[in-house]
């Protein structure tokens, strides 16, 4: 009970310090050299990565031309729609351009440019479906849309009229997959997106016209970067006048079907192995850097947790309690979005990821170290102290060498856990292995095959590293004892 109170106090102190450090976001009208623009991972044809891993699409080309016209740099961060919106709100990024519909709700926290695209929503059904010809045929069928979109609102509104059931999905790839699998009968999505999918020879067909819907806008956090909106509007006007705007639209909405094999396991591997390997490299880099930092954090707090000083033990246990009590996903968002939101401190996703994993694994390593030290028989400490060795020397020469041997299996285990935990960081936009896979899935909709490849890659790496560590462990234990 006392401990809980103390932890609460600790949390309050930390929040207090953070809020003192926090400074209000300056409203700058000065033109910056480089603006950071957040976008979706995949929202074809507005933004998606081609098979070379380069980001293309209507939004991307418009941004590129507008940056040329205004002589500024746009740094594009494809972090996912929700992450981009949150990052702009938190001041981590300057603007969002992700096929974002202008709504009164969003206008409360965003300032939008002139609309650059008139959107609308459309229904698609499976290619081999011959029973649905209009909305009337949807009676007792299952209809799907993406959560929180205009399409979702539309099908909700018309549910009574046509008598269908609704299913909502978070991502497009899952929604298109379940349509393929026959689990839903019709899907609703933004018409350019559906049109693009049909052009890409996805097994879809359109039987109705599209419903006129909202307009897309380029958004900045309310009250910030008015100069950026001016530049955008100016550039858009020029592109429309010169006819380039229409060219870009035609290029994507009339895009020819991809000739690359993105369906078979081998084809996916062949086209995407550079992206997957680079994702794997990020995963390993995150793991190694974090585990090394976590080791030092763990040793510090582990030693504190067995120290004779009551205060040290208390501090260590509060730290461990906090980390153990917060889900890693929440903790990652807190570090990446929460702390910058009040301090104005910008963290790159990679740095935020390393901080998250290091603090997280550090707490568990502290526990491993505490357990290892406690597993060394008490008589060892007494024997060394009775010889006149001071506490620190006894720790260093007698207790820790024995404890570390006992801890090796737990260290290996923690290493594997941390490697797996990196996948959670896909949520804050780090291009690690899972995220790389998600981008490919979103493009080719081969959910099963891509996840299979990603899983096997994790499996191989983790198994190899575990085997290697086991060998090392045997070697260490062969010396002495």
């Amino acid at each position: 009970m006392k401990k809980t109170k103390l932890s609460l106090f600790f949390i309050m102190m930390v929040s207090l310090i953070i809020s003192i450090l926090a400074t209000p976001q300056p409203v700058s009208a000065e033109k910056k050299q480089t603006y950071i623009i957040g976008t979706d991972i995949t929202f074809a044809p507005f933004e998606f990565s081609d098979s070379q891993g380069k980001y293309v699409g209507i939004d991307m080309e418009l941004l590129e031309r507008i940056s040329e016209i205004n002589h500024v740099n746009f740094e594009i961060k494809p972090v996912g729609f929700n992450a981009a919106v949150q990052a702009v709100e938190a001041g981590q990024m300057d603007a969002v351009m992700a096929g974002m519909t202008i709504t009164p709700e969003r206008e409360k926290s965003f300032d939008f440019s002139d609309p650059y695209f008139q959107s609308g929503i459309q229904m698609a059904i499976a290619k081999d479906n011959h029973t649905i010809h209009s909305y009337k045929d949807l009676k007792n069928k299952v209809v799907a849309a993406k959560t929180g979109t205009e399409s979702a609102e539309f099908i909700e509104k018309n549910k009574q009229t046509y008598g269908y059931k609704i299913k909502l999905y978070d991502t497009a790839d899952v929604m298109y997959s379940v349509l393929n699998a026959g689990n839903v009968d019709a899907i609703f999505d933004d018409y350019p997106v559906i049109g693009y999918a049909v052009k890409q020879n996805k097994p879809l067909q359109l039987v109705t016209d599209y419903e006129k819907g909202g307009s897309y806008g380029f958004g900045v956090k309310k009250g910030t970067h008015p100069e950026l909106l001016t530049m955008f509007n100016q550039g858009l006007k020029e592109l429309k006048a010169s006819g380039e705007y229409q060219e870009i639209l035609d290029k994507y909405i009339e895009a020819p079907a991809s000739t690359q094999d993105e369906q078979s396991l081998m084809g996916i591997l062949k086209n995407n192995y550079p992206a997957l390997l680079s994702g794997l490299l990020y995963t390993l880099l995150l793991t190694f850097v974090s585990i090394v930092i976590a080791f030092f954090i763990g040793v510090l707090f582990g030693l504190m947790s067995v120290s004779p000083s009551k205060l040290s033990r208390r501090i260590a246990s509060i730290y461990v309690d906090i980390i153990r009590g917060i889900p890693l996903y929440v903790f990652a968002l807190f570090i990446y979005l929460g702390i910058p939101n009040v301090t104005g401190l910008k963290l790159s996703p990679f740095v935020a990821g390393i901080i998250t994993l290091s603090l997280n694994a550090g707490a568990y390593i502290a526990e491993i170290i505490r357990g290892g030290i406690n597993a060394v028989p008490k008589g060892q400490m007494e024997a060394a102290r009775s010889l006149g060795l001071p506490y620190r020397k006894t720790m260093k020469k007698i207790i820790l060498p024995q404890a570390f041997k006992l801890m090796i299996p737990s260290f290996i285990n923690q290493f594997v856990i941390t490697l797996k935990d990196t996948s959670i960081l896909s949520a804050i936009g780090i291009l690690e292995l899972l995220r790389s896979g998600q981008i490919i899935m979103a493009r080719n909709l081969q959910t099963f095959n891509v996840l299979l490849i990603v899983s096997v890659m994790y499996l191989i790496v983790i198994t190899a590293l575990t085997k290697l560590s086991k060998k090392l462990e045997t070697k260490v234990n062969a010396n002495g004892r």
């Binding site: 010889l387 006149g388 024995q402 002495g480 004892r481």
Partner: protein, 245 residues
């Protein structure tokens, strides 16, 4: 430095349980004292208070001229002069027999490696285990481990040696070797405080025998007095039990 111990009104509690209820005694330089008594009588606790492995609640312990119950005293320095041998040996399993012995003198007395090794070999020779210098403790028998533990304690050249039931965990055939080493130490004038159940050894080697029960010294005197003419009923009943076995 000599090896005197002065204890006055020593009280030790574990929570509400008072284990030592005001012990006072003086041990002279070179004296060999055996402490006997039923288990739970506080004899091991008393021994462990003498080098502060147990903190005392009140009372005074003076080792030579150092009041170790005074928090100003550097206990590590005093401990260098007090060797201790444990019931369960407590050898360092990650170090070889020789390293077990050389660690403290190298670290605390600044001996070079070769000086420390020479010292270790001399001590191992004395306890009859020179051929085991390179092995790790886990390959030794209990009796061998205990002799290494004695050598390790002696490497700091202490004037006082504390033995906490040194033969209780040994197979009977190993006990003799360990007791012989201890006898040799006693003959060389080491101050020794021994908690033991070996009544024969106590009779033969001790200058003085202390019988404790219920956290108090019930009776003390020469082995002749305590074993042959015990004054107290508690002493008599204890001796009847252990000697009739």
């Amino acid at each position: 430095m000599a090896g005197k111990i002065f204890v006055k009104d020593l009280i030790k509690k574990y929570g509400d349980n008072t284990v030592l209820k005001g012990i006072s005694t003086t041990i002279k330089d070179g004296e060999v004292v055996c402490i006997i008594g039923p288990s739970g009588s506080g004899k091991s606790t008393f021994l462990r208070c003498l080098n502060q492995l147990e903190e005392v609640n009140s009372g005074t312990i003076v080792i030579d001229d150092f009041d170790i119950t005074d928090s100003q005293t550097d206990i590590n320095q005093v401990r260098e002069n007090i060797g201790m041998v444990f019931q369960h040996f407590n050898l360092f399993p990650h170090l070889t027999v020789r390293e077990n012995i050389t660690l403290a003198p190298q670290d605390l007395k600044g001996l070079t490696k070769s000086e420390a090794n020479a010292l270790a070999d001399k001590l191992l020779d004395m306890v009859g285990l020179l051929d085991k210098a390179e092995v790790y403790p886990n390959s030794l028998s209990g009796g061998q481990k205990q002799r290494v533990a004695i050598a390790r304690a002696l490497a700091m050249k202490p004037n006082i040696m504390l033995f906490d039931e040194p033969t209780s965990a040994l197979d009977p055939e190993m006990v003799g070797d360990v007791l012989n080493v201890m006898k040799k130490l006693a003959e060389n004038g080491m101050t020794m405080v021994i908690v033991t159940h070996e009544m024969g050894f106590a009779k033969e080697v001790a200058d003085r025998v202390i019988f404790t029960d219920g956290g108090e010294i019930v009776e003390e005197g020469t082995p002749e007095q305590v074993f042959n003419h015990p004054q107290h009923e508690r002493t008599r009943s204890f001796l009847n039990k252990v000697l009739s076995v």
